[in-house]
């Protein structure tokens, strides 16, 4: 129903003759509603509408004979600009083995993403090692080991209790066996769980990973920003991964997290299988959010 709303709205706007300032403000109220219903964060929507309004209330629009078309273009372009400039790649240029740390809230899709990323990197000629750093969730290590077996990728699970030791040990194992990328799985945790957030800080301190990927659920709502900000403050992560975009959630959290952290969206998860990983395209995401 959301898609219909946007399509109807844009069709109406496109067919409109000259626009008055009131027409424009009314249109932007509708855009605000659409973005909120798409799960874009309240404050991000406010800022976005302000930015669009400044441009949309300009003389160019008010004088145009197809102002609706112009307003739509402003909205679309503003959204794409906010989502990031095109495909962003992982930085794996440092001396191997390069650690990549994967973090996020519970159940966001980290372990599955690590398997997917391992497969993706191997297809690009890398030799990934997966490290099972989640010692808390029942059968989490088992889960990564099974995924490793399915993909014929090595999984390091040294059977010790401290995730910091496990990650350090994983790096040593990578050196021993000539693996050039080390994907570190960590337990899901709340951004307000102090000891668990400190554990991540300790892993980061020990390994200094050039890539820390924050994995967020594509159907997340308003609070997505709060968790992302807290993870960013603690870890200054380098990139974002959005999962479960094979669902029918609009994915406004993508815009929110990106707008608030300024970090690039590196990948999106589009399915449960290990090949369901895609690079992020801002224009496609804009179209999805706008319906």
């Amino acid at each position: 129903q959301l898609t219909q709303g946007f399509e109807n709205f844009f069709r109406h706007l496109r067919g409109h003759g000259k626009l008055t300032e009131d027409n424009i403000r009314e249109s932007l109220r509708e855009v605000r509603r659409i973005l909120l219903e798409a799960d874009v964060n309240f404050k991000v929507v406010k800022q976005f509408i302000q930015n669009v309004q400044e441009k949309a209330l300009g003389q160019e629009v008010l004088r145009s004979i197809t102002p609706g078309q112009l307003v739509i273009k402003i909205i679309h372009d503003e959204l794409v600009a906010l989502l990031g400039e095109g495909v962003s790649r992982l930085d794996l240029s440092s001396l191997p083995p390069v650690p990549v740390m994967v973090v996020g809230l519970q159940g966001s899709g980290k372990t599955t993403f690590i398997a997917k990323l391992g497969l993706h990197l191997r297809r690009k000629g890398k030799f990934p090692l997966l490290v099972a750093g989640d010692v808390y969730r029942p059968a989490a290590i088992d889960q990564l080991q099974q995924l490793g077996r399915q993909l014929d990728l090595p999984v390091w699970a040294p059977g010790v209790q401290d995730p910091v030791d496990i990650c350090r040990d994983g790096m040593a194992e990578a050196r021993r066996t000539g693996r050039d990328v080390v994907l570190l799985d960590t337990a899901g945790r709340l951004h307000i769980d102090e000891p668990m957030m400190q554990e991540l800080a300790r892993i980061r301190e020990a390994l200094k990973p050039p890539e820390i990927l924050y994995v967020a659920d594509g159907m997340a709502g308003q609070d997505a920003v709060r968790a992302a900000q807290e993870f960013q403050q603690r870890l200054d992560f380098s990139g974002i991964v959005l999962t479960k975009l094979d669902g029918d959630a609009k994915g406004g959290a993508a815009l929110s997290i990106r707008a608030v952290t300024g970090k690039p969206i590196r990948f999106i998860g589009t399915g449960e299988k290990t090949d369901a990983l895609e690079e992020f395209h801002p224009d496609r995401m804009a179209n999805r959010i706008l319906g």
Binding site: R33, L36, E37, A38, D39, N41, F42, L105, Q106, G107, S108, G109, Y136, R137, P138, A139, A140, D142, Q143, L144, Q145, Q146, L147, Q150, L190, H191, I192, D217, M219, A220, G221, Q222, D223, A224, R226, A227, K244, D246, G247, D248, A249, K250, G252, A253, E272
Partner: protein, 282 residues
């Protein structure tokens, strides 16, 4: 919130923001504020309408929307064995919720059996089996790739044979827009009915409190296809308020039975609409 001495449009704007940032959704927020205005109008007729009371009235509106008629009755667990099917999208907290439910019912004195109905995801049955070990409860499971309906059938047969009070069946996470996966779920229901026409007696949808507006569509489809009878809202120990659940309760007449407040087996509470409203309004 509500530091206004007067009830004016600024106050309503502030309340709207609080609701929207709690994932209440634009339409539901409008409905809530309209219901609030009605309550305030009635209260002012009794000159009881100061701003401090508005907050209490708002809490009432929310609590009322979350207490659908369906909630009047408790869980339907009188059958022996009673069967609870647990469903929901990927990663919402189903398997962990089952461990918590098993713990609760075990403490209530019931004999519980678990079924590892997720035969798809890596180490899903191992995860449930570990919980079974911690709880001292048996878990029916088959090899990876087994037909989940077959596991459910075997489990109900075993439950009857062993005279347990309660069978809780885990299922694989699935996105509601995947028709084939939703069909798999309705097949599980049909297969259970071969052994007991009333099974599953409860179908609990586990919702992740972090979810935005998509929650409503999730619930709608799961309800249509698998006959959801109740909700569990997991991960309310985080900072997400789960406001979209209000729309789910209100539009689909589904009761929230429990909330998940953590990752341990005791981290489950009975749902209290007033407490939920209080936390939501901060």
């Amino acid at each position: 919130l509500s530091s206004h001495p007067r009830i004016d449009e600024d106050l309503y704007a502030e309340l709207e923001e609080a609701l929207l940032t709690a994932d209440v959704g634009v339409q539901t927020a409008e409905d809530i504020l309209q219901a609030l205005r009605d309550k305030v109008r009635r209260a002012s007729a009794m000159s009881d309408d100061n701003a401090a009371n508005v907050r209490a009235l708002l809490g009432e509106v929310i609590a009322e929307m979350m207490a659908p008629a369906a909630r009047e009755n408790g869980l339907n667990l009188s059958a022996r064995p009673a069967v609870i099917l647990v469903v929901g999208v990927n990663g919402s907290g189903k398997t962990t919720t089952i461990a918590k439910l098993a713990r609760k019912f075990q403490q209530d004195g019931r004999r519980v059996l678990l079924a590892a109905g997720d035969t798809f995801r890596a180490a899903a049955s191992e995860q449930l089996s570990m919980w079974g070990d911690r709880l001292g409860l048996p878990v029916i499971s088959q090899g990876a790739g087994a037909d989940p309906a077959a596991v459910a059938f075997d489990a109900l047969q075993a439950a009857k044979a062993r005279g347990v009070d309660l069978l809780i069946i885990d299922t694989a996470g699935r996105l509601h827009n995947k028709a084939n996966l939703m069909q798999e779920l309705s097949k599980i229901g049909r297969v259970l009915k071969k052994l007991d026409a009333d099974a599953p007696h409860e179908v609990l949808l586990v919702l992740d409190a972090n979810t935005g507006q998509n929650m409503v569509q999730q619930a709608r489809v799961f309800q249509d296809i698998s006959g959801v009878t109740g909700l569990v809202v997991a991960k309310l120990d985080g900072t997400a308020k789960g406001g979209a659940v209000i729309s789910v309760c209100h539009e689909l007449n589904l009761p929230v039975r429990f909330i998940g407040l953590g990752e341990k087996m005791d981290d489950l509470d009975e749902f209290d609409p007033e407490a939920f409203a209080r936390v939501l309004l901060g």
